[in-house]
Amino acid sequence: MIYRTMIKKTLPRFLDTVNKNYRLIVPEQKGKETYTFKPYSGFSNVATEFLRTIIPPKQFFLPPKEDLFHVSGTSDIEVGAEEEPFSIIFGLHSCDLHGIDILDKAFSYGGKDTFYWRRREKTGFIGLSCLPDKYCLCKSMHTDFIVDIYDLFLYTLDEVYMVSVRTALGDDMLRLCPELFREPTGKEIAEYKDRIEERESMFTRIMDITNLADLLTLEYKSDVWEQYSHRCLFCGSCVMVCPTCQCFDVYDSTDLLTDITVRWRRWDACMRKDYALVTGGHNFRGARPERFRFRYLHKEIGFAEMHGKATCTGCGRCSETCPAGIDMVEVVRSIRE
């Protein structure tokens, strides 16, 4: 890996140049304290100090709703062509990059999901360091740092960004304006070290995940699930904002005039009542406590059993979003006690 530094004031020039060569997507401020990923429309709209966007970057690979194919009574099955240009997403924090890594695994296990991968393969990432707020749980989930997935990663120092160049694509981007980048000095390296230490000491929220998989299994019948399920509204917000929740439903709609059927898929939530309902009326997870519990079990154990990694990246979106004020840290603490 190569490391370079770039003067912070030159970031607009760099992003302008990247935008000329790729489709650039950046975080923008939306409401008072809300952020969202948008196509680049000039540097003045780019947010560089923000924590989490409302909707995570999964939207770019798994859109909330997406057409799979069209077919009519007589035609062949036609898969819509995806003519999107190569995209670069700027401003991804470590947790969201981990989230993409988890989705990559999920959409590869048992065979590649071609719809996910045809977009994912045409996307590069510029990561950006961040400082935690009261919702950030990444340190506990071991996702506060990342060494792969990205093409470039920018660590914010006082005057410069320390730039980690991970891939040839990252190098290509650097070479679009080589004059902006140079070798890090000893002083910058020292500052980088100080910053890491400083950041580590800023985490106020800690979730103890020691032997959590065992505990969740042992406490499968705990009253805790019942208690929380009375508070939960089953609105599914926590699922929609989660960078690693991937569930979807598949539908058909037919245009009566043209007789063309479109098959499409849409995000779904395991919290929904008929999520596990089968024909004949049997529901494998109908009761509220069962549905509430399932999300925790799947986040913390299910995926980890297969890929050695919990699917919670600690991004804090669910806790910040939940209208009932349900907080994963609190739930896990209740299980521990």
Binding site: L68, F69, V71, G73, D76, I77, V79, A106, F107, Y109, G110, G111, K112, D113, T114, F115, T217, Y220, Q246, C247, F248, D249, V250, Y251, D252, S253, T254, T261, R263, R265, D268, C270, Y275, A276, L277, V278, T279, G280, H282, F284, R285, E290, F294, L297, H298, I301, G302, F303, A304, E305, M306
Partner: protein, 275 residues
């Protein structure tokens, strides 16, 4: 391509009973027709365009090439419309999906097959696999239970099996209505298991049927002394993709669609929410 089916034609429809019919499909594409191969216990996602998709076990045998037979119960939207389709109708098929029965492990040993109702659908494929290479198996026993004589699926084929001396096949029905003729056993399918005696060592047991059926049959098999690791069951779950992506079929840490639908009883009881 994932999630995108291939066009197929319904070439034959055979009425089995008021709820079930046997449907034969062939792919439009001739190369695909030849190349399609599968293991007993695998399923396909059957599409009726404009209606949706449903996971259905392949009921033909893997040695029968060129077509796919599905035995389907009229249960809801997709399966309902399927029963209305005329021959030559266009459908979509993708697959085969799932792990299927571990036939390589089963070969060389004895095999006990226990089916309840529509559970015969995937097991019929396994039976056909066995009949095609009977010499590779030791003792073979088949117990099939249905509600009443009317609802015994594939009655003619079962009759042939009853007559064979190299297979110990027995049928039973829960009850026989008046004015109905029945020469087989009457009672629960579990009673057949007392009669189809197999050595406990070296016998694999393949079980498929509705939830209550599992409850009784598994209980009985354990009482008889079979190991949980030698009992193979097929799980039913809601499925939207069949590819391990949509999440709907997850049980514990497994995807029924790709890690299953065939699980040993031992594996199954280690998954929470199994029944």
């Amino acid at each position: 391509m994932s999630l995108v089916p291939e066009l197929a034609i319904l070439v034959e429809k055979r009425y089995l009973d008021a709820q079930h019919s046997l449907f034969r499909f062939v792919f439009n594409d001739e190369d695909r027709r030849k190349a399609f191969s599968f293991k007993p216990g695998q399923f396909v996602m059957l599409s009726i365009f404009g209606v949706g998709e449903a996971p259905i076990s392949i009921t033909s045998g893997p040695d029968e090439k060129g077509f796919i037979d599905l035995c389907v119960r009229k249960a809801g939207r997709v399966t309902g419309v399927l029963h209305e389709l005329e021959e030559n109708a266009r459908v979509g098929i993708r697959g085969p999906y799932g792990n299927g029965y571990p036939v390589e492990t089963m070969e060389g040993g004895n095999l006990l097959i226990v089916a309840g109702g529509l559970g015969i659908a995937p097991l019929r494929s396994l039976i056909r696999y066995v009949l095609f290479r009977r010499e590779r198996f030791g003792e073979v026993g088949i117990g099939y239970g249905a509600r009443d004589p009317e609802s015994v699926l594939f009655y003619g084929e079962m009759q042939n099996l009853l007559e064979r001396t190299d297979i110990n096949c027995m049928l039973s029905v829960d009850s026989v209505p008046e004015n109905s003729r029945w020469q087989g056993q009457v009672g629960r399918v579990t009673q057949l298991l007392d009669k189809i005696t197999m050595p406990l060592e070296g016998t694999s047991v393949a079980v498929c049927g509705p939830p209550v059926f599992y409850k009784f049959v598994l209980d009985k098999l354990l009482k008889l002394g079979y190991s949980k690791g030698s009992i193979y069951m097929s799980l039913e779950r809601r499925m939207e993709c069949g590819l391990g992506k949509c999440g709907h079929c997850v049980v514990g840490h497994k995807y029924t669609c790709i890690d299953g639908p065939i699980f040993t009883y031992w594996d199954a009881i280690n998954l929470p929410e199994i029944f």
